[in-house]
Structures are given as structure tokens and as C-alpha cells.
Symmetry: C2
Subunit: 200 residues, 2 copies
């Protein structure tokens, strides 16, 4: 049993997805196994807030993939995850196809200032979130370096706020196709409907 794989830069999973997606997250600097939980939170936030998919740069983490695919299987939707491509390739390909790059960093321009021009551009967005240090090249490659506060926070909360503003709160009305489980909002307690049982 592999609980996590060694780093491999030559493996790509789910490669059929390209720039037809509009909003994709690029996760940089993921270390195995140290970042498994935080990157899982990045993926789940990306999915629930309406991003199309996530590219994990440079490494393949099968434990991460298993967790995310399991959530997608149970809770539905078309969120995908791709792994192992060198980040420079991803960035280059994205730009060559007319996509634009947003980098979330505490050093950037405040989100409320940047959001107007980001939303005004109809081109697909690659939203880069790093773990710890991010190469200077990323700051240069990004059209927008965007700060969700100029304080140390978390790439998870930065991504949540970015997607909330970018999609204007659509996370509260998203429907996920082919879900097996659906949570029914409840004032006190847990209500979950098993849709796969209902259909049988």
C-alpha cells in the first residue's frame, strides 16, 4: 500500500482537462507528507467555492488524490485534480493559450482594489497559491499579485475570500451533479440524505 508517493515530475493525472476550464488553482510548494492536510483544505475549498480543478505542481501525492476523489465521488460535481507537472510548464502553457495568472500573496495589492480589473477580464484564470516561499518568477508571471489582507494568514482563507469575491458568493447556491450524499441544512444536528440509495 502506498500512503504517499515519492516526488515524480513526469506523471500527470486527468490530463484531458485543459484551458476550456475557466478557473483553475495551481498549488505550489506542496511537500509530502507535511502539506497533505493543508493542501486537502485548499482543494476542498476550491471545489466548494466553484473552481473547476486544481493542479498540484511538481509532485504526485496519491494520498491527497484519494481523499479528494473520494469527496467528489460522494458529494458530486466535476472538480478535478492534476498532479506532477513542473509549475513553469503549467504557467507557460496557460499563458500561451491566452489564460491569465492571479497569485495570492500577502505582499500583493489588496483584493478590493484588484478585483475590479480581474473580473473585467473574461480570460481563464489560473490562481496560484503557494506553501511558504514562492519563487520570484511567480510574482513576475502573475498579472495580479493579490493580497487578502497584508497580514500572514493562510492560503486556504486567502483562496476562499478570493473565490467568494470573484464569483460573487456563488458558493452558497452551487449544485453538485451526481452527488451520492446531500447535507440538509439543520439548526441542530446532522441530516444527510443518501441519494444513491433513494434512486435504487
Amino acid at each position: 500500500m502506498r500512503t504517499f508517493s515519492a516526488s515524480r515530475a513526469d506523471v500527470t493525472i486527468g490530463r484531458e482537462h485543459t484551458l476550456t476550464e475557466q478557473t483553475v488553482i495551481l498549488r505550489l510548494g506542496h511537500r509530502i507528507p507535511r502539506d497533505l492536510r493543508v493542501t486537502t483544505h485548499v482543494c476542498l475549498t476550491a471545489r466548494a467555492f466553484g473552481a473547476d480543478g486544481l493542479i498540484l505542481a511538481d509532485v504526485v501525492d496519491t494520498a491527497l488524490e484519494k481523499t479528494i476523489l473520494d469527496v467528489c465521488e460522494r458529494f458530486g460535481g466535476n472538480f478535478w485534480i492534476r498532479m506532477g507537472e513542473p509549475w513553469r510548464h503549467v504557467v507557460k502553457e496557460w499563458k500561451s493559450k491566452g489564460g491569465e495568472i492571479v497569485h495570492l500573496t500577502a505582499y500583493g495589492i489588496p483584493l478590493p482594489e484588484a478585483m475590479g480589473t480581474i473580473r473585467a477580464s473574461p480570460n481563464p484564470k489560473l490562481v496560484v497559491v503557494g506553501a511558504e516561499k514562492v519563487p520570484g518568477e511567480v510574482f513576475e508571471a502573475a498579472i495580479w499579485n493579490v493580497a487578502v489582507t497584508n497580514q500572514p494568514i493562510s492560503e486556504v482563507s486567502a483562496l476562499a475570500l478570493f473565490l467568494d469575491r470573484y464569483f460573487e458568493g456563488k458558493q452558497f447556491s452551487l449544485e453538485f451533479e451526481n452527488a451520492k450524499l446531500r447535507i440538509i441544512p439543520s439548526a441542530h444536528g446532522k441530516k444527510v440524505v443518501n441519494l444513491s440509495e433513494r434512486d435504487n
Copy 2:
């Protein structure tokens, strides 16, 4: 050198802080060392988005404390962290002093529906965020069980969205007193001013 401590339920740090604070986070289910990084992200998000402090229930994690106090020392503000109190005591004390409890959970009422009544009440709020399973008692103790989407996400992004809506985006204009470092927003690159050097 202790990089992290064993669990101790009888130690409290920074106990001078009580209900005079208006918005405090209660972190449940933290496991040492597994949750160090995610709880760090919870703390940093709480601080940057305007919460007064965080109570880590049941355990003392000195590695976490060191990280958070180091950020507070460098970036300023009055955010505090308290550790080791049994969560039932914290909840009981909070309620006995007229405070109210909000529990962030995917099973709850959608944030946009709940926020009106939460903001209408002037009483201090204890915002509970769990790691994985949360006891049923918490669902009962909370006046509001609130869902930031009814999807699996992350306590980090749930807290960010909750505080964003509760404080109406004040994270983008907060000033942190006595900061030694201040990040200057920049379109490309990193600009940091060392305020402690400037004063000398």
C-alpha cells in the same frame, strides 16, 4: 527543547482575558502534532480577520503558541491565545456571562440565512471550529449552527467567510498596533518596512 508538549488539561495561558472580548474562537479536537499547521492557519485567519483571541480546548501545544506569538510580536495587534481548558468549561463560562455560541459546521443553516440574526444580537460571540468529529453537545450548546456551504470544506475557509460577513469585510482596513513589520502592497515583488528599525 520541546517542539510540542503532551496534552495537559490543567494549564491555562493568558488567563486574564475573559468575556470583555467580543469575538473569540474556540478550537476543538486539536491533535498534537497532527493539527499544528491547520490550527496555525485557523489562528492566523482569526487574527487577520479581526477576532480578539482563540482558545485551544483541552490541550496545550507550545509549538502552536510560539508560532502565533511570534507573528503577533512581528506584525502587531492584541490577538491572544489561551490553551488547555476543557471545552465544556469554556462553553459553560461563556454562556453564564451572557455570551452566545456560533458553531461552524457543514450540517448547519446556510451562512447568508443565519447572519442577520447573528449580527442583530449584540452579545459576545464564541465561534466554535472543530477538527473532524465534533460532539453532539456542541450542536446543542450553539444558538447557531452555521454552514459555509453544505459541502466538505475547511474550518479555515469557513472561519474566514464567517468573520468576513460578521465584520462586513473589516479585515481589509484593520490596523495592528505596535507592529515591527509592515507589508507595503506591491504589484510585483515584496516590500516590507521594518518599523522597529525606523524608530531607533
